[in-house]
Symmetry: D3
Subunit: 223 residues, 6 copies
């Protein structure tokens, strides 16, 4: 029951960086409007935009012991993804664990629970997306799992998948799809760039996207 998977396959580092540069909204569109985590997971400070490979952790309510176990599994470019086995907003993670995670090359944390020491975490520039900020301490008594698939933010996540996160939220990309999503995302970004220039000059989307005829056909009337 309580096991740690030490041999997971990770998406390639280059592709992860590329997805992080694109950001959540573009990646989400590029993979066909899929993979978003629920909107109740919010960043503890604004401005971070990162991607990493998921190290997944299932923790009992009010017990952060497995986070210490997970630290050893972290590699450069990883992202911690944590979900409790029962709804809980306790502060599982603070500045000491962040110090340890950063020393292992971890880029950030997504947690379906609470976090604390948020002022210190911002000073350290260790970004966190969480369900709550709450100082309530946890114990170290009961086991969970590391690097087995979990559900976090109402979304299914496997270890090694790519997790992209910024001020818009979080998006997960299965590692098999990552290369294709990056290609489509880059193409999309380029297309948007030229549209943006036209819109900035005052052209209307109605014309840029050639929508007028279809609107009329659907029955739109102007009074």
């Amino acid at each position: 029951m309580s096991s740690v998977n030490t041999r997971i396959e990770r998406a390639s580092a280059d592709i992860v960086l590329g997805l992080g540069r694109l950001g959540v909204a573009t990646v989400h569109e590029a993979q066909g409007r899929k993979g978003l985590l629920a909107s109740h997971l919010r960043p503890i400070y604004a401005g971070a935009r990162i991607a990493g490979t998921a190290v997944t952790v299932a923790v009992p309510p009010g017990d952060n012991w497995m986070l210490h176990v997970a630290m050893e599994q972290l590699q450069d470019g990883d992202m911690l993804v944590v979900a409790p086995t029962s709804p809980c907003i306790d502060g599982y993670f603070g500045d000491l664990l962040a110090t340890s995670a950063m020393a292992r090359g971890c880029r950030g944390l997504v947690i379906e629970a609470g976090v604390r020491d948020v002022r210190e975490l911002q000073s350290m520039q260790f970004p966190v997306w969480s369900k709550a900020v709450f100082a309530q301490g946890t114990v170290k008594k009961t086991l969970g799992t590391v690097n087995l698939p979990i559900t976090c933010g109402d979304t299914f996540i496997r270890p090694g998948d790519v997790v992209v996160a910024d001020d818009d939220g979080i998006c997960v990309v299965p590692r098999e799809d990552a290369a294709a999503v990056l290609t489509e995302g880059n193409a999309r970004e380029m297309r948007e760039e030229s549209v943006r220039a036209r819109l900035a000059k005052g052209e209307l989307g109605l014309d840029v996207y050639d929508m007028r005829e279809r609107l009329a056909r659907e029955g739109l009337t102007y009074l």
Copy 2:
């Protein structure tokens, strides 16, 4: 059913500017504690204080087609006010629509739904008050209405009404009342200025407002 009202009456620009300067709390008090939108609509970044004339849009859930239609109706000094016809937190609006809206002179957006690209929106200084930040994309399939009255933030809003918004939230002023509310708001601000000076020196509101006798009459006792 799906219509665009192209001839709406807007509140006068001078009055709109004056109300924007006063801010939400003062305008709300000046019109008799009315017109606030529900508190679940929050700014995506702190520090903006604006007012504009409402261009109202009703959109189907998960469909932002009518926002493209609405762009054409925007004039300098307008504010977009958007509500879905069924509860929805999808990200209807992002940096491309903001680029287009700014090019038309639009000052900001109030939306009873989600928004995305919030980092870019902050860079562009295009303020948004929304129910959620969520990257979930939308389609362009079904029609709605532009510039018919809508309910947004539990409040009835007509096109052309004045919408004031800042870090405290959003307040709507019917265009017929706007001049009177501005006059009363300015007077109120002046009165508050002199009270503020007395309080800053350490005088008590109990004395400034002459409350002691009435408190005693109501039965207040000191132990």
Copy 3:
């Protein structure tokens, strides 16, 4: 029923300052994981870390008259702690009351309700932890109490108790326990400092805290 207790016992100023320096997470741990207020009370701006002695106020829904009464009871180093007698998110407190409170030496406000003028409050650096930001005005018609015990953030608070608040939330320390909590908190901070240094160098908590054997005994397996 409607009374003001003018003679409360306050925790000593030195100890209050010491607890404020430690912050909420450390104080909470140091007193045995107790005393946190509910996580729905959030700061209106980031970065404040303070402690003060509680002046408690019970207010009727939508009526802030007792806040004017409470102003007179404030002393240097106090913290206002306010709860309505029925759930309410109206904006009980704004820049005028903050001006008055600061003139009396008050360090901040914790309120189980709404607050307004938040932009001005941030400029004044008057920190507030509230349930909502809402401009909805209040009246001055009905009495409540000042400096009787109240429940705020689901937690029992007596006048004179120490209230510590920062970005992580709020923690209350009974004044009788304050000295002991400060001693334990300082010791804890020192212990954490040496752990932090080891973790920053890449040592694992598994080794620093000597957890490996106990984990194996509980049945943890590595795949």
Copy 4:
């Protein structure tokens, strides 16, 4: 500000009865998927299905004085529709007010706030749709309005409009549209009856509604 409109126009009694018989889901569809109140308004007991003409009341938070004023305006076949001017879940209404309302011919209550004495209300068979069940008492100090338009359940309601309510929620029909909606609702009910018979025999909606070709055209594939 505080006024009672004593001369409102009510929808005709026959039409109201007909709409009540159809129920909320059918009426909502028959008027083009419009008019539903928000789903947080729930019945205090199951099984009621009614319609009535709205007598609208705006009440201050925690103050039910205007409900006493509203009693005098009730006529046979009316429905009370109540909204506070600021969010509030106090128990504005209990068995005494229900006794009075029933004596006036009132059919039920929709309230964007709390209600109490729910066991007694069920015994009396006086149906209520509310935001909360809460015994918190109210005072009688501040005025509001009776029979001016209000927003309740995020929906705009005018006095005299038809309010239909059952276990599915609440739907409002503007009195001008009531006759047309009834005609369309009756037609719809008849159409549904024949479809229901076919489905009960095991026919599939795919065939009854002739959907297979359109699904294939949209790209549906069977594995």
Copy 5:
């Protein structure tokens, strides 16, 4: 820290019965609109109306060990009142614990957490007021307290206090006040009886309570 108070003082059985007969709304009014627990605590089935003396239990999140300890402290006429030390909706209590509690004479349960086996609990007629219905199991690893004061439903409750509960919610009466509240509650009930009779005949509260003149003085106008 982890202690059981075995010698608590209980309110007298007669008075408890009397308060139970009056019900929550009347008791709440009779003690001056105080003592209600938060409205998120709801009955798992309709129709129960009881009162009992509180046996209070503080439990760790996800751990119901102390409920087994509490069973031994239950006496005839008691009511279990349970709160977790951190927010939790796990199912702490089911049909086995209810069997044990009923065998000890316990009348019901109020719990700021989850409950399960609700169908069986209804069959047994063991009433529960809870924050959630959730089958999530708990462990038996960590201690808490029995019969020390707790906060439950945002309200401070001491062991031995009277807890009244029905479909309207829950109200606590300090045992020192119980006799006086019963007297006032009985008087109130009698007064209401005669008012009810007049209202049922069609008299208006405006006349029964003699409100017309005061309404006019406050500025009420009829259109």
Copy 6:
């Protein structure tokens, strides 16, 4: 993208029936405290206890077209499990679809969205567990999937898995584990039966489970 898997493997009918008899709480415990769906999914009426094999449906927000497609995939003993691809509380399902589903042998519905016609559904004894009751109608325009894995109630569910549901909520059992969980559940039920008898006679769990020594060792003290 939009596909229907017509060849799914279903858990065996005998085992499904056995699990349904045990109910949610026992099944959840028997499979190691796993598989519960989130507690916001609640039954529309009390008293149903069923199990079935999942036919999973992913639907766009506000669009129930795929439910018509799913009807054809239903077999005797199935249970519909539906989740929208974006949060939505519209009423996707009503009495017509229930008529069709019952004709195909379907036992009930679990839906992460809204449902309507709940009075009729109760009359038909077609049980539903939903996030909301809401009459808001849906369209039939956009495709989704049938019988691909989905996340519903924050839990990962594959077609053919066993879904157990009663008044306590919903629990999913992977079809590979179903036989083992049934064996353990039956054993557990037998053990509980004998404990129940002892508790009903007044024995304490402290003795039945032999807890006193361990409690003392953990530091429990009696005052």
